[in-house]
């Protein structure tokens, strides 16, 4: 026990400090623990045999040649594993009558997308497994495939004949019906009479999350619990789902997410590969490993976005908005995956965005097709919504003849109107669109760039300048459990934290969040260091292993800080409360006379004090504790958020368009984001930068392209275009701060904001650059060809889908063999 004489100096606050990351040391030295590193005694390797056909009956699978291949342990089909492979669930049926085909990890008698697993090979090495997989001969009978989203919505060809339709669910939100606003059809009718009606159809192209670490899973069945290591964002949800679908007791399953190399929603999934590895390990009694190739990842990892958006905006002649009607077709792909069916619904409440629409209606028809299923990808529903509204607000600006920022300001929620309940029924707690916009304009040099734009237009410069605006908000911090329940989402949205006060003064924090690059170890250390007054270096953050972090709902939806961080704060506050009586007893004072600050319990009006670390030691020793107090000051908290959080921002983008080639060059990008209280500005800006590039990439480069046979053409990084450092610029970022009023730290989350805001900022800029040529839209991605064609009147930049083959860089004869449907895995032992 120590009685200190001097009060300690006030420490610099950790929250708000640009601490360098604790995670870095292992990552910059290669001392990393990726799932693919794992090697266990007796471990065997799996190779998948995947369907080349988008839709085919499986008439038979010839496995004898594969079985005889060197060091092959087993070759199994869907039928062989039918009773053990379990099922892949949909945790969010958005309507009670949602139609969803059964999703088995290995296809049974019909392949329903190109890339679906039809057989598995297990061998002593990955190379031998692959060699044998080439020898598996599958006899397919091709079926017509439902590929085009609009055609699939008309049930012209059925993706799943037994289902009888491709239409999975129809979901609607109507402000009149919900009592949150007026009737949108009336508003539109009125506007047709004496106002403005803007009707547009936009395409949200299909994207691929393309995290840098290919997915990998290892299952070891040899311990008391079955352990699965997986490159996943959701170890807790995986454990629950495995138990729920395989019959193995939850307490006999341990899931570990070791170091995970990026996710972006793409690793928020219960995957066929994980379920197969689990079943194989149990059957064989040996550790089993599967690591996908990049091609497999692009084909079989879930895709994102993929919508047609029909939009009708109603406004008064002066540009005051009066109604917004949204009609979406959303491509689910071949199955309704974990939360895939609900992704469009996550955007349902955001099309109205920051604007005071009196009437709003959202309609969404989800549709099954014979393509890879879709699910969460950075932003999950909100980028789609923000794109639609921010593009159409630019169209409104043109129609009214005013600056795009002016039309937005006219309609947005004013700073003094917060908290504001929107026409979609959400209560935005705080925000300041005026301040963010003013700062952005200042940083951007808005007026100067507009002047340059005019000069280039007037002089007929072959290089035109475009300026794009995006004033966004989003709903994140997923999510209040009651709201999730009301939407029929299968789980809650709480988060858990445990704080263990070790005897030697160190603090162990166990979080239910599962970081995969977000720097939680550092940021959580900062939060706890502030709250408990301990040193940043003395905090150890543990996560990702269900045997260590027994409770959690993992990381996605920009929730970890707002929900997980709040759980941390609550746990820390509980520790202080639990420590108080012990401290009081040791200080021979009343608990009411104690104050806590900078890691010290002090007696008011005296110099007497006790460090938290000393209380922890005293609890451990238990030699002198007050009666009735247990010898521990460790605490848990599980926190359920009361609302979503609503970060917002103003993004301004300047692009140069080379009218001779259609090439687009980004000149300048400014992002002023209000994400509430900032814990670590370095980490925040990193999230913004990364988010920006993914959103910009949707605008300019990325698209998952299928050919008429339903084969993914952009199936490698040669053709699925991710930008490099040479294609992107440095960004200018700043922040305004409107703290959230619904959590203690005032945080709002930033993981997805950059992606949500940037796509419309870029497309608005490109269209702005060439509007003088009569262009009103260019379909994403705004390839040079599309831009050029739009300028020169060859079709308005593509209301047509991207067609064409992959770039042929291998011997033509080999490519021809491949595209004819023959090739590795689909034919006999020639290769």
């Amino acid at each position: 026990m120590t009685v200190t004489e001097d009060r300690p100096a006030q420490k610099t606050a950790e929250v708000g400090r640009d601490r360098r990351r604790k995670e870095d040391l292992r990552l910059i030295t290669g001392r990393t623990k990726w799932t693919d590193n794992i090697s266990l005694p007796g471990m065997v390797h799996v190779a998948m045999v995947r369907s080349f056909s988008a839709h085919a009956k499986i008439l038979g699978i010839e496995t004898e040649a594969a079985k005889r291949s060197p060091n092959v342990v087993a070759v199994l089909t869907g039928k062989d594993l039918a009773d053990e492979q379990g099922i892949l669930i949909n945790a969010w049926p958005i309507t009670p009558d949602q139609k969803a085909p059964t999703h088995t990890p290995i296809a049974l008698d019909r392949a329903s997308f190109a890339g679906e697993i039809v057989a598995v090979v297990v061998a002593r090495s990955a190379a031998e497994a692959r060699d044998a997989a080439e020898l598996v001969d599958v006899d397919y009978e091709d079926l017509p495939a439902a590929l085009d989203l609009k055609e699939a919505a008309e049930d012209k060809v059925l993706a799943h004949p037994d289902l009888g339709t491709n239409k999975s669910a129809f979901w609607q939100f109507d402000s009149a019906g919900a009592g949150t606003g007026g009737a949108v059809d009336e508003a539109i009718e009125q506007a047709r009479a004496d106002g403005i009606v803007i009707e547009r159809e936009y395409r949200q192209q299909r994207l691929i999350p393309a995290f840098m670490e290919p997915r990998s899973v290892v299952v070891d069945p040899t311990g008391e619990q079955i352990t699965m290591w997986s490159a996943t964002q959701i170890p807790h949800i995986l454990r629950f789902a495995l138990a729920a679908t395989t019959g193995v007791p939850e307490s006999k399953i341990r899931v570990v997410a070791p170091d995970v190399g990026g996710g972006f929603g793409g690793k928020l999934q219960t995957t066929p590969e994980e379920w197969i590895a689990f079943a194989l390990a149990r059957r064989l009694g040996k550790p089993v490993k599967y690591t996908e190739t990049r091609s497999e990842s692009l084909i079989a990892g879930h895709h994102g976005r993929d919508q047609w958006q029909k939009l009708t905006l109603a406004a008064k002649k002066d540009g005051t908005v009066t109604g917004f009607k949204v009609e979406l077709l959303a491509d689910l792909g071949s199955h309704v995956s974990l939360i895939g069916g609900g992704i469009p619904v996550l955007g349902a409440f955001m099309f109205n965005s920051i604007y005071k629409f009196p009437a709003y209606q959202f309609n969404c028809q989800t549709v099954l097709t014979n393509k890879t299923w879709t699910d969460a990808y950075r932003g999950a529903g909100r980028p789609e919504a923000t794109y639609a509204i921010e593009r159409i607000m630019d169209e409104l600006a043109v129609e009214v003849g005013v600056d795009p920022l002016e039309i937005r300001e006219k309609n947005w929620i004013k700073h003094d109107e917060f908290p504001f309940t929107t026409v979609a029924g959400l209560e935005y707690d705080s925000g300041n669109y005026e301040a963010a916009t003013a700062r952005a304009k200042e940083m951007f040099g808005y007026d100067e760039l507009r002047a340059e734009q005019k000069q280039r237009r007037d002089s007929g410069d072959p290089v035109q300048l475009g300026i794009g605006v995006s004033t966004f908000t989003e709903m994140c911090g997923l999510a209040p459990s009651r709201v999730l329940g009301s939407l029929d989402y299968g789980a809650g949205g709480w988060e858990h934290a445990s704080i263990r006060m070790l005897a030697t003064g160190k603090v162990e924090v166990v979080t239910g969040s599962s970081a995969h690059g977000q720097g939680h170890e550092t940021a959580w250390s900062q939060i706890v260091a502030d709250r408990l007054g301990v040193a940043f270096e003395d905090v150890e953050v543990l996560h990702g292993d269900t045997q260590i972090s027994h409770r959690g709902l993992d990381t996605y939806g920009s929730r970890s800080l707002t929900v997980g961080g709040e759980a941390l704060v609550k746990a820390a506050d509980k520790v202080i409360e639990k420590a108080k009586p012990i401290a009081a007893h040791l200080l021979e004072a009343s608990a009411d006379d104690l104050e806590f600050g900078s890691g010290q319990f002090t007696v008011k009006g005296t110099d007497k004090g006790l460090a938290m670390a000393d209380v922890a030691m005293a609890a451990f020793a238990a030699h002198n504790l007050p009666d009735g107090v247990e010898p521990s000051i460790d605490c848990d908290a599980t926190y359920d958020p009361v609302n979503f959080s609503f970060p917002h921002g103003t993004h301004l983008c300047a692009v140069e368009v080379d009218t001779e080639t259609g090439g687009v060059l980004m000149r300048k990008y400014v992002a002023v984001d209000d994400i509430g209280t900032i814990v670590n500005p370095l980490i925040v800006d990193g999230q913004v930068h990364g988010g920006l590039v993914q959103g910009i990439a949707q605008a300019l480069w990325e698209e998952a392209v299928h050919d008429e046979a339903g084969t993914l053409v952009s199936a490698s990084f040669v053709d699925y275009l991710l930008p490099t450092a040479a294609d992107t610029i440095s960004f200018e970022t700043d922040h305004t701060t409107s703290p959230s009023t619904t959590n203690t730290l005032g945080t709002k989350g930033v993981g997805e904001a950059g992606t949500i805001a940037s796509t419309p900022a870029v497309v608005n800029a490109v269209v702005d650059a060439v509007r003088a040529f009569g262009v009103t839209d260019i379909q994403m991605p705004c390839t040079p060809e599309r831009v050029w064609k739009a300028i020169h009147g060859h079709g308005n930049g593509g209301a047509t889908p991207t067609v064409g083959d992959a770039e042929p860089h291998f011997d033509e004869a080999d490519v021809a063999d491949r595209s004819a449907g023959a090739g590795p895995g689909a034919e006999g032992a020639d290769r």
């Binding site: 360098r20 290669g30 990726w34 840098m212 670490e213 190399g261 800006d685 990193g686 992107t728």
Partner: protein, 158 residues
């Protein structure tokens, strides 16, 4: 099987390998040097970048047998006597990594870039990294890290 001998991170190794074994797989699976990773199958991503006889190469695009008799340096061979390489320090200082998967390759290529061009402009840095994909950082801080390591001012943007 072919017998090969090579020096990796200062250590001498001798093994029998199948000719088809890629250098990256040899490093990871036979030598246990899991710091170097595989990110793609078309040699676009650069996550597998190591130095071969002092120059950066994509180790997925080299057969182990081609490296027989040569010298390889991986991310794990950079720190000397417990002291981080200036490029490693720069990435840490400038928050040039998030998930860390692309980082070893990015660091190895950045070192080669500076070896070749000790005072690169921002444009030269960006071009010099065109063979390395990152999905997390948006490259902004990676560029800053390289500028920092080169002793350059890291620009006015925040």
């Amino acid at each position: 099987m072919t017998r090969i001998q090579m020096t990796v991170d200062g250590g001498s190794y001798s093994d029998d390998v199948e000719p088809r074994m890629l250098l990256v797989h040899y490093l990871r699976e036979r030598l246990g040097k899991t710091g170097t990773v595989v990110g793609c199958d078309t040699s676009n991503c650069g996550a597998c970048t190591v130095h071969l006889d002092g120059r950066s190469v994509k180790s997925c695009n080299v057969l182990a047998v081609q490296a027989d008799g040569h010298e390889v340096t991986t991310i794990e061979g950079l720190a000397a006597d417990g002291e981080l390489h200036p490029m490693q320090k720069a990435f840490h200082e400038c928050h040039g990594l998030q998930c860390g998967f692309c980082t070893p390759g990015m660091i190895m290529q950045s070192i080669d870039l500076i070896n070749d061009n000790p005072h690169p402009s921002e444009k030269e840095i960006r071009l010099g990294l065109e063979g390395n994909l990152c999905r997390c950082t948006g490259y902004h801080n990676i560029v800053k890290a390289v500028q920092h390591a080169a002793g350059e001012p890291t620009g006015a943007s925040s």
